[in-house]
Symmetry: C2
Amino acid sequence: MTVRTTLSSPNAEVVIGFDAPFCIIGERINPTGRKKLAAEMKAGDYSTVSADALAQVAAGAMMLDINAGIPLADEPKILADCVRLVQSITDVPLCIDSSIIDALEAGLAAYEGKALVNSVTGEDESLERVLPLVKKHGAAVVAISNDETGISTDPDVRFAVAKKIVERAADHGIAREDVVVDPLVMPIGAMNDAGRQVFTLVRRLREELQVNTICGASNVAFGIPNRHTMTGIFIAMAAGAGMTSAIMNPLHAEQLVAVQAANTLLGHDPDCMAWLSANRPPVAEGAAGGRRRGRAGGRRARSG
Amino acid sequence: MTVRTTLSSPNAEVVIGFDAPFCIIGERINPTGRKKLAAEMKAGDYSTVSADALAQVAAGAMMLDINAGIPLADEPKILADCVRLVQSITDVPLCIDSSIIDALEAGLAAYEGKALVNSVTGEDESLERVLPLVKKHGAAVVAISNDETGISTDPDVRFAVAKKIVERAADHGIAREDVVVDPLVMPIGAMNDAGRQVFTLVRRLREELQVNTICGASNVAFGIPNRHTMTGIFIAMAAGAGMTSAIMNPLHAEQLVAVQAANTLLGHDPDCMAWLSANRPPVAEGAAGGRRRGRAGGRRARSG
């Protein structure tokens, strides 16, 4: 059994799937917590947006998340501007990210291809407003497993919310393959059981509900030291539990190399070709070769 | 349901268990592939053995594997010497590692406490010779899931061999808790499915056979570049699938940090205290603090 969510731009297609390599969705184009970027975007300066788009794709992003959530700004216009701009300079499909329905609508109207809408929740208002939009534009959608009662700390409740969203999407004519469930990742520093909960939930979502899964990976290590190493290990373990995509930062080598290793270990890297290519030894392999090989950490994949 | 394998020395006890932090067993005291060490050990020079013991324990090893497999050497005597020596300078329990029954016997006779015997296979001769020895010395044993027909590439066959060993051990009065199964890790470069097979098998061994598991972790990345990073990610994913111990190299920061992160993410690190202690920011946190924090890779746990 396999499940495939296909996203597209005019020139490219990406599959999130049980039988596909883990889908890396670049998280950087998001003004939350980035004051300078927020000010630029609000002023119509998209130079950082362009640079972040190109850098993430060069590092290995297979899709890009675009978020324009800036207080007191014209979010629908900025989001649509960014969608058009990023589509003009890269071929990767986009994830259109907003909690405001008008912004999602503007972003989708500007987008060419099949986008991933981020997100719908289990709240009735969200379901009734976002799902018709997703259907109208032939998009796929991220389903976040919280509802009117908030984010439950009980994984069974989160599973039930995800199931409800998948069923409601079906009522709107949206196939199960086009719903990618976010089990919600809590910071491990605040909730000791956060990792184990996600791993268990992801396995159930895959085996019982048969859906692809996604998460905002960097949240898990919020506030703790050596954060990107922890995030990388989390992503690899989540992939091992069955997670098929993440919104993450491919510019951090610790996150990128973890995905690459997980792909290889899960059988998604035939003959280890991707691993070998990302970890090619230095060209000059003469007398110094032996010593260079001794420092394993020195040959990390494209570093941020 | 939990399963606990308790190993001991005169002054310390270590638990390999479903509800315990991942057990790191240092692999370094092994002359295989270490010509200089082999020559030293054969000549009765155990200075490297001492240094390796102390360094691995300082780095985080909770047990040490002791192997004295040197061609044309008096393996029983050397193994017993090493067991006595290492027990005189560290408190960690030992894993007595040999394919020669007389060496296992000599090592066990020299050992004080409850040791882990490495290993018994599913071959009748091995079962009939090793298990009585394990029982006689009140030890635990590593069960390697191959038999007369060799190492099967079919995980179902390997599961069946493990089950047979557990049953045969019970016939000899050895409890299921005292059999730690090695599912056998193949190099990913030679067998693309090696990772996924181990993860699936480990889950079955834990859920169906209810045994602890162990592996020689570094084998997975044999012959490929950036080897220790791949090994670290493998260990974390194996832990996520339910593996509870590994013979590995804690002197490689990539392996050690992966275990630490996996422990935290699996709920075996209350309040992240172990992670925080291993990844403490530099003491001088003044003006330069912000910049230092920017380099996530720089603050790896005790590096090798």
